[in-house]
């Protein structure tokens, strides 16, 4: 026998040692046989040799036995573990079934904590983390142009984008697109489709093959209307063509021109923009009328997404883009002065590249709130479980006394936590599902096909699962640690409720203080968001938001030329104004906080300011003379447009005070003239100055703005703005009837009130959602914290029943009992709130970039949070305190 093997035989004291047992057994056999043979008179060495010979191959047998036994031991151990576990689960279920109230509170805490956090995670996941479909979806970057006039990244010109694409050292491929509306001519009449008009490599850059048919071939974007083809989205294919697969290859009529359907995309594809659900994709300038200006670098309005060459980092790409932009600036100083292009990973460019810098911060804030609420929920459950362990301490002590190992007791508690977490997890999936359904029912005020479908998919379920498990483990630690420290003697000596369990109570108190502190942070964030949202919606925007009905229409170029179109709109305004209940009505090409805008290049004449070579780029709008009255935009000087300002008279414009102050500081702007579009473009005269308004971002300083007259500049797509004396929606039907009465084929869309447009449109939707989400979190944190305070105080009342009973028996007054109990709970509340206030003062600074008109350390919010927490904590203390006052001293003392 090898001696080296002997030491590990001692391992048998802790666990079965297979190898040593096999060695011993075989050694015994050989020794016994040797003994037997020598008893028959054989010489000892010979006897041993004989015994070994009889045995056969000792070493092989040894190996065989070890392998057999080890395999068997591991199988047996697993079986034993499973059996123990299932017994633990059964015991836990039985124990929990005896306390349904406890299970309900814990389950609800888990379900709400995890369910709501999962729902929020779904939103963040759907709009921020989930990459676009297609092989390259996750790797795409989008480009945004920044310049002196619009510092937020925005769309590019086609020519610039094409030049960036030529930098093949940086880009593997780059697609250019814009989103436009086309009309599909069917038997049912014209149907408006939203399509991306793109370079032919659109789907190649995305890495997405067609579901049916094919996508575009290289070169199908060349020429004008030489390849009229369309690729449909799955949604449009189902809705417009009833999912008929023979549609591929069919020629349909788009804007009364033939277009061939070449393919259908898979359901996951909705277009590139995160919120828009397009109907299809066509190639640039291949569908009538061709509108993309391929060569004018001042004509910006094209979005760009690209795939970086393999191994090119974002910072290297940005540097290369900067150099490219400077090169273009030298080559085209008239249009590209101070123009820079930034590259942002597509996932960080949502919902729009213009505010992409805020997106990670917003996502981080929400995820932090999610985690904080989850922590509060965990603290609550831990605290409740701890109380339960303390109550059950005698049972545990007795079980330990009759031989249950500490590990088994700890495991029992952990299993109990897991069972609770499982109950909570199942509830959580239900809550998350309900919350997501609620989120999906949010109405968006637009007829742009919006993709607002939050999906609860496996990632969220996984997140729930991980969160649940983490919660179970976190909440298991405290009670398990408490159970481990049980000292049998102390417990059995102590009589019932009065046991010296200060350590546990201190731990629970710390948990409650911690969760109140976290709740304060969450509530402060919620309060800031709420104030910010209120500010945003109350913000003076510079135009009327009430009693304003909006309705858009688009005259088809094939039925209306400039003259008949202008007649249509003039007649429309005249008839609408005559409707009873209408104060005034005007039309405009763009509405504030809308989806579209246009920029005019302005060269002032006789201005004291230094005019750059490529002029000033300012937002512009084409409006009718009544627009300002209907919108409630006041004139500061000059006059409104008049009927005499027509195509035959000198061109006039109205500007806002921001423009007047910029170009003619200290001088009256009325009567001043400027060149429009280029340094020697048409000369227009300023006839009026209106007050500036907010147009793009809530809270912004009004930007310089140029209004042109519809009487002089024709546009086919206009929005009617009707100022009403009554509820504006009540006039929707008669106004719509007037439009269709004038032209039955004219589409009417985006019928909504200005209030609706602002609240649910792109301007405030995210602020509103943010404040709604954080309000939910705030209430949740408050509820959870109050459960925590209630739990600690009522437990302490239960512990001190005898003491309180004695006090009452000795003549203590009710108020002093109340003060005793409430004081203890409120002390925790004050400490927690103090810590929370310090914590939020230290952390909410990160919110400053996403708040409107409220400082991150807003005293009102802080005071409100403190007050509401104190109120809730007070109520949570009063309930057990009231119960304490009703303690019958006789029963309390006898109850031992």
């Amino acid at each position: 026998m090898p001696d080296s093997a002997k030491w590990y035989r001692y391992l048998r004291f802790w666990r079965p040692n297979v190898a040593a047992d096999v060695d011993d057994e075989l050694a015994f056999h050989i020794d016994a046989r040797t003994e037997e043979l020598s008893r028959f008179g054989m010489e000892r060495a010979a006897a041993r040799a004989q015994a070994l010979r009889e045995f056969g191959d000792v070493e092989r047998t040894r190996v065989t036995l070890r392998v057999m036994d080890e395999h068997h031991a591991s199988v047996a151990q697993r079986l034993r573990f499973a059996a123990d576990l299932s017994r633990d689960v059964r015991v836990a279920c039985r124990a929990l079934a005896r306390t349904p109230g406890f299970v309900a509170v814990v389950g609800l805490t888990f379900a709400l904590g995890i369910g709501v956090t999962s729902a929020i995670y779904s939103v963040v996941d759907t709009y921020m983390f989930r990459p676009l479909p297609g092989a390259h979806g996750a790797a795409l970057v989008v480009l945004g142009r920044t310049d002196k006039d619009i510092p937020q990244p925005h769309d590019l010109s086609y020519a610039d984008a094409r030049d960036f694409r030529a930098d093949t050292a940086v880009f593997a491929d780059l697609a250019i697109y814009t989103t436009r509306i086309i009309e599909l001519n069917t038997d049912r009449g014209a149907e408006r489709l939203w399509v991306d008009e793109a370079t032919a490599n659109y789907f190649r850059v995305l890495g997405l093959p067609a579901y049916l048919g094919r996508t575009f071939l290289a070169g199908e974007d060349e020429g004008v209307m030489s390849h009229p083809t369309i690729v449909l989205t799955y949604k449009a294919w189902k809705a417009r063509f009833a999912g008929d697969s023979s549609v591929v290859g069919r020629v349909v009529r788009v804007n009364e021109h033939p277009v061939t359907v070449i393919g259908v995309m898979p359901p996951a594809f909705h277009g590139i923009r995160p919120l828009v659900d397009i109907d299809g994709v066509v190639c640039i300038n291949q569908v009538w009328p061709a509108t993309v200006d391929l060569d004018n670098r001042a004509s910006i309005g094209l979005s760009v997404f690209a795939l970086l060459r393999h191994g090119v980092s974002l910072s290297r790409a940005s540097e290369a883009l900067r150099l490219d932009a400077r090169r273009l600036e030298r080559a085209y100083p008239a249009t590209n002065k101070n123009v820079t292009v930034v590259a942002v990973p597509e996932r960080y460019s949502r919902p729009s590249i213009a505010i992409s810098s805020l997106t990670p911060a917003l996502a981080a804030v929400f995820m932090t709130l999610v985690i904080l609420v989850l922590l509060v929920a965990c603290a609550n459950v831990a605290s409740l479980l701890l109380a339960r362990v303390v109550v059950r301490s005698r049972e545990l002590a007795i079980r330990a006394a009759i031989g249950a190992s500490q590990w088994r007791l700890v495991r029992q508690i952990l299993v109990e936590c897991c069972v609770l977490a499982f109950v909570g997890g199942v509830g959580a999936v239900g809550v998350a599902y309900a919350a997501v359904r609620g989120l999906n029912s949010i109405h968006l005020a637009t007829d742009i096909p919006m993709r607002w479908g939050v999906e609860l998919d496996w990632r969220v379920i996984l997140f729930s699962g991980v969160a649940t498990l983490a919660a179970a483990l976190i909440t298991g630690i405290a009670p398990a640690a408490a159970a481990r420290r049980r000292n049998l003697n102390d417990l059995l000596k102590s009589s019932g409720g009065n046991s010296p369990l200060g350590a546990q109570q201190r731990l629970r108190s710390m948990l409650v203080v911690g969760q109140i502190a976290v709740s304060v942070v969450v509530l402060v964030a919620a309060g800031l968001f709420a104030r910010s949202s209120a500010n945003a919606s109350r913000m003076t925007l510079g135009f009327r938001s009430d009693h304003l009905l909006m309705m858009s229409t688009a005259l088809r170029p094939q039925t209306h030329d400039n003259t008949s179109g202008r007649q249509f709109y003039d007649e429309l305004v005249r008839r609408v104004t005559a409707v009873p209940g209408v104060r005034s009505a005007g039309i405009a090409e763009f509405v504030p906080f809308g989806y579209n805008l246009d920029v005019a290049t302005v060269f002032p004449i006789a201005s004291s300011v230094n005019v750059p070579a490529n002029g000033f780029s300012y937002f512009t709008n084409v409006v009718s003379s009544e627009y300002f009255a209907a919108m409630g935009i006041p004139f500061l000087s000059g006059r409104a447009f008049a009927a005499r300002d027509d195509e035959n008279s000198p061109r006039v414009v109205i500007v806002n005070d921001a423009l007047a102050k910029t170009l003619w500081p200290g001088e009256p702007a009325v009567g001043k003239r400027l060149h429009l579009d280029s340094a020697n473009g048409s000369i227009v005269e300023i006839v009026g100055v209106v007050r500036g308004m907010q147009d793009l971002l809530p809270g912004e300083t009004p930007r310089p703005y140029v209004f042109q007259h519809f009487g002089q500049v024709y546009r086919s797509d206009m929005t009617l703005l009707v100022h009403t004396t009554q509820q504006p929606t009540s006039l929707a039907a008669p106004v719509r009837a007037i439009v269709t009465g004038l032209d039955a084929t004219a589409p009417v869309f985006d019928v909504r009130t200005m209030e609706d447009h602002l609240r649910n449109g792109p301007a405030f939707l995210f602020t509103r959602l943010g404040s709604a989400f954080s309000a939910v979190f705030g209430v949740l944190a408050l509820v959870l914290a109050s459960i925590g305070v209630y739990g600690v105080v009522s437990y302490s009342v239960a512990q001190r029943t005898r003491e309180i009973g004695l006090r009452v028996a000795l003549g203590a007054r009710l108020t002093s009992v109340l003060r005793l109990v409430v004081g203890q709970g409120m002390k925790l509340a004050w400490i927690g709130t103090g810590a929370g206030v310090l914590l939020s003062l230290a952390t909410t600074g990160v919110l400053s970039s996403i708040l409107f008109g409220v400082a991150p350390r807003d005293p009102l919010v802080l005071a409100g949070v403190i007050a509401s927490l104190m109120l809730i904590a007070g109520v949570a203390c009063l309930v057990p305190a009231w119960r304490a006052t009703r303690i019958d001293p006789l029963i309390a003392i006898r109850s031992e």
């Binding site: 011993d24 003994e35 036995l65 036994d69």
Partner: protein, 113 residues
């Protein structure tokens, strides 16, 4: 060992069960009992005996425990479990039928027709 004894090797399990039916015994005891009972006709290789013992232990036919021998040496004692005892009964009756049948054949006096 000759071929006819190979045939009997499959019966090792039943012999072990039979050996243990007298009471708990260590591996060496089982080997000795088989050897003496068969008058040393069946020389069971000890290296085959132990894997059989362990396999039967894992199948809960026998149970094992460490105990001291009369010479105060630690040895692994095997004993029958209830399942093992039932198994023995079954195997013995199968063996009886089998051996009777074989014996009838080889001692047959009736010529095939």
């Amino acid at each position: 060992m000759s071929a006819d004894l190979d045939l009997l090797k499959g019966t090792l399990d039943v012999m072990i069960l039979k050996a243990l039916s007298w009471g708990p015994m260590h591996g060496f005891g089982v080997a000795r009992w088989i050897r003496t009972t068969t008058d040393e006709v069946l020389q069971i290789d000890d290296s085959a005996l132990y894997p059989a013992l362990h396999r039967m232990e894992h199948r809960d036919l026998i149970d094992a425990d460490w105990a001291l021998t009369e010479n105060k040496r630690r040895a692994k004692y095997y004993r029958l479990t209830t399942k093992g005892r039932q198994q023995l009964k079954v195997r013995v009756s199968v063996w009886d039928q089998y051996s009777t049948a074989v014996s009838k054949v080889i001692h047959a006096t009736l010529q095939p027709s």
